[in-house]
Symmetry: T
């Protein structure tokens, strides 16, 4: 089982800035936790982060043949990227949407997602644990197929 | 660790009707799965379902002193009950919001939640597994306190 | 042929109050008229009224196996109850929506119905006669199946 | 008792096209059914159909002195014709609005009627039977005067 | 000086119906008053009324070469006819918009005009006198050219 | 003079929770203050609280013959209950709407009341004193009749 | 017959500025034209202009007993002054609203009037002539009483 | 205890005009009642009315050092004056907002207040009695400090 | 291959008026160009223009059996005619929507089309050439069937 | 070079109240700073402040002939005064709009300006320094002419 | 004649994915067809595709001096990219907007284009043929200059 | 003192295109002016321009440790980039927002900024001088810390 994890703009700053919103764990530490948890599921992880919408679209296009499913934390692009949505519509790889903070407890423009209706489901608000729960949800679904 | 699970209107029909939307597992079967999983966390479950908004408000009011946290699947009341919101505001018991179906892939009036900003976070779209992931998320948070 | 008639909040006051809007016939008199007209169709009537949304949801859930179709005058709940809508979605019993007054000649918030798109059709504006026309419409449809 | 039946644009195609939405009965067959049912009420029918808004306005203006009431299925003009509304406001002949399909289960622009608040009431969603129920409703009202 | 007066749907009923809104003067009487007042301005009147939007569009198209200006009481079409607007845009004959009743004291949908920004100006609310004031306004402008 | 006091959902928690918003006085203490103040007006108090919308509708329906007027703090139902509004429309007992906190200094969804236009008037923002001022206002009006 | 003419903010600049919108006639010249035309109607003119909303409210309050009717060109206050509206509601002196430019051919915020529904009617778009037409309309109405 | 009472535009007409809305008591009579009631509270009254928004802003600015609290009936300015709001924000003198009529039973534009969230609370709908109840509410709060 | 070309209101004025928007070619000249181009495709042209919505609805109803496809320039009716939409829904003849001017560079009310989602596609903005491109597009599709 | 500085309602309180929003510098101190900086530009300053909209309109009307340009901090009137806008439209004196606080970081109703599109530009958010930067910007433009 | 063809995000997947929406022709095949058709017009083609908005902005900036006109299928960027619009505004190279699918028969967010009003015109809904028709339209315009 | 200047999409075209909107000065010339003015403040300038949102996000992320403050002219991204906003939220480097043209005198979609509430303040409308004024404003604030 191969699982890709795609991370959107500014997530590379995780742990360094705004810890009161996003916690103190760095993205590298989360990557470590996800890789370890994946092993328990017999899954392999491909990890990707970019601040460029186009690079994330390229990454989504590359999923078929390389991953059986994806975890996507699109950050700011969640709320505005129709190009990302189109890429996900095109490749139709099953994915789980996830967020570190509870996006429903934030500003109105962060409460709408361009990709949520394409996802299997969403996990939001549990910090680094959101990645682990999303991984578990995705693995459950992939095994069920 | 004591955890209350509150279920809103029509969830008692689970498994019997609209299986294409909500799956074939009954609410009783989910209750069984949650109780079993809770044991692994050393947690005790109090289970409640009602079609009456007032009864759910009463149940929320009764939480303090009886539960350390709650899982709430408010069903239709998710989208309209200010009374439920007020009760949750008043008791301030930590809770996770959960949904069986992916509410973001459904009709517009189901995409807004009256209680999501009060929750620790939300898990939506994974059928019966949503309950187990939400339990895990809540247990993680309660242990962290 | 068994037909349930469900009546929402405040309809128990019929004939006693606001006769200029709703007429002078009491709900009991309408029940009598409906039972009599039903006999002509060889149909049996189950009659229900409540001021409690939860009780109406319970009543809708109980329809399968007890009624072949329903007449529903949800009164104020027509315009706001997503729980009632969910119950009707779940049980999928054929029903006709009816109103005593012409809801389109009233305040804006009474011109939208939460359940109209689930109904076979609607009869609105003919006072007690609305019940009889709705009965006829439902009976016609049930016979046609 | 003289009753006019006014039919709006495209109803002349009834039974020939889109039977999955409007049924297989032709407008001529419905006219026959209405004329027969009218005889039982001792009522005479004047039947009219046009694809021209102006012709329907002319027809409404001609009602006083020629009809005691009207059944109106304005079709597409239901949702947009202020001129038809003005004509109905001017002549003040009692009428029942009717629709073959359940307009509340269709596209949003078909859920608003320009004339519903001027009508005695509305019957919608019962195919050809809508005409018969509306006739009955109107006859009941005219006799009651 | 040749002046056309164009009257929209239902104005032919004037004086016969809804006198509490539109007064008791008939359209023929207004025509007489306008013709007489026009003579004082040395102007000739061409008078037209129709319930058909298409016929009014035809009439507007015919203005160039036949009239130096127009008085337009488009009635219900005031608020919805883009075709009338296009015709007026195309012929560019100077015109004054007029209304019998004060459209700003009526329902919201009557407070917007599709043609007001193309007019020299508007006179509204003075019953039959609106025609005479509009005539005067138009004659003043035509003489000033 | 008999005066009913109706209290909506979550008011039973008063004084125990969120004292920074609602103060430290319990509902029982307020009841005591109101009963005492009522005696000064020669008025008798009937006191009621429920978390169930249906129970409050029942209570409003029971007012005629049992109370000359009412004080209503509908809490969360203020902002959403069309059924409560219908009940008040039906019984037409004079009442004063009141709120402990200043609803205009709170979230937008708490600034609209479903019943304010049916009330004699509103008193909002003075904590427990709101009940006493509302009582005085109502007593003044009832004596003036 | 005594007629007051009230002119709002910036009308004192008339003829000096923005002649392409408002023409070259000064307010004093218009006053002269209105006084002369008034003599023909046997009417006396009281003329007032102010840039201060409060002063215009004072002027409206002073109308009863001093004027039988008014011409009001409220300029910018037309679109925003609820205080002016309240004063006109209170004194209930008949008045005609007028504008120099065609307000319907201008920016959206100038197309709504706070006072139009209280006026007998409106004349808009004919420059200085708007005053004379409005005078004539008002005189006609006052004589008709 | 010194209390200022500020009255907005058109309140000087009280008792003379629109008695069906505002009652027959004049503003001078209300002033008398308030002064008398104030004496019972050991409070001194400073009374002010103006039709000029600027004058009311000046009056609010003058409050500190001259009054311990204020009663404000801003009339039409309630709904539109950001300048008044700014003045109240600047001086931060505690005040109670009051209205004679029930503003929630009136036109939509009167249901929003620019200053309500800055007030201690609001009393609306009890005619002249609104002043006395507001005085009592304010006195209660000032004594409590 | 038989192709009908339907032209809406005011297109008969083409070439004579507003050449800066619509060009100098007359509708007759365009008809000539289309007929000639059609010959190259072995297609026969039926040409129709009317200022009457009802006449265009009649023309659409007549399409089946007389045309294999249609080019429709509905002009002003594009933006408002639900009756035209219904006729096109009923006959289900394949058609291409076309416009002379680029409707997306014009006023907002011209940017929405009532029929675009029923069309095979749209060609807009190329003057008389729009007809020829639309013809080509339609011919391509009809041959492909 | 003569430059007028116009200050709107409540700016006279500057430095005394809400220093956390507007700083501790008084309006007189700012005036001193501006006069001094103006000397460096060889410019003369005319300084004006009022709480009265009408007085500010008068002041704007007086600009031509007395000032070559203006700095305008209209405070609360920025967001609502159409009369001020009309005055600025009429005199067409070049001006720079300025604000002490960053209006885009405040409440929504303070983010729209009625006059910004008439200004050369805007400087907002730099406290007293906003005046100096605006002066510099205006002087630069006036010299460039 | 040199013509650039710019293709937006995800168009590189053409023919491989979602053939039911976009057809089975690959972008390379379309490129071949366009190059061949261009030769008939004596035109040279420069072909470009990118998933990066910035790269497309760069490409638009490079048009002047390299292309006489452009065909633009901006895909998802059509609906959101103000940067693309700015680039097109800056270079002012004539272009035709095109789409494979009929964007007016798709989801609401795809019915608005950020660049349509800058285009000569639009061709939408004819699959690969849209490119050829757009090429023809552009060539016609370029030759006409 | 180190100051970064970040320039968004299409600003590289400055001076070459649309000089009537943006002036004739090139971005290189502005860079020269800013560097020179910075020397007077003892500040060092880091200059950056890109058409790629991702590159600008990278640049913002790189600010801490390299710049004490920033001037940001985000051009088209001003109005839509949530990713840029997130980056600015994360790094919390003080910055001034600036625009060459007066964005409030342009199209509606350019009047909203995604980053204005995070800025110290804004300078808009003074062409190249906007950079110099913004530099001065920022330097003033940095020195004040």
């Amino acid at each position: 089982m191969r699982i890709a994890v795609l991370n959107g703009p500014n997530l590379n700053l995780l742990g360094q800035r705004e810890p009161e919103v996003y916690g103190r764990t760095t993205l590298a530490e989360i990557e470590g936790m996800v890789r370890e948890a994946a092993r328990a599921h017999g899954a392999e992880i491909e990890w990707f982060q970019s601040n460029h919408e186009g690079a994330l679209v390229d990454a989504v296009q590359a999923l078929p043949g390389r991953a059986d499913g994806a975890l996507i934390n699109a950050a700011a692009l969640t709320h505005s990227s129709l190009a990302l949505r189109d890429a996900l519509l095109a490749v139709r790889v099953p994915f789980v949407e996830l967020h570190l903070s509870n996006i429903f407890a934030r500003e109105p423009e962060r409460r709408h997602s361009m990709i949520a209706d394409l996802a299997l489901g969403m996990v939001t608000g549990f910090g680094a644990q959101s990645y682990l729960l999303a991984l578990q949800a995705l693995a459950g679904r992939l095994r069920a197929v």
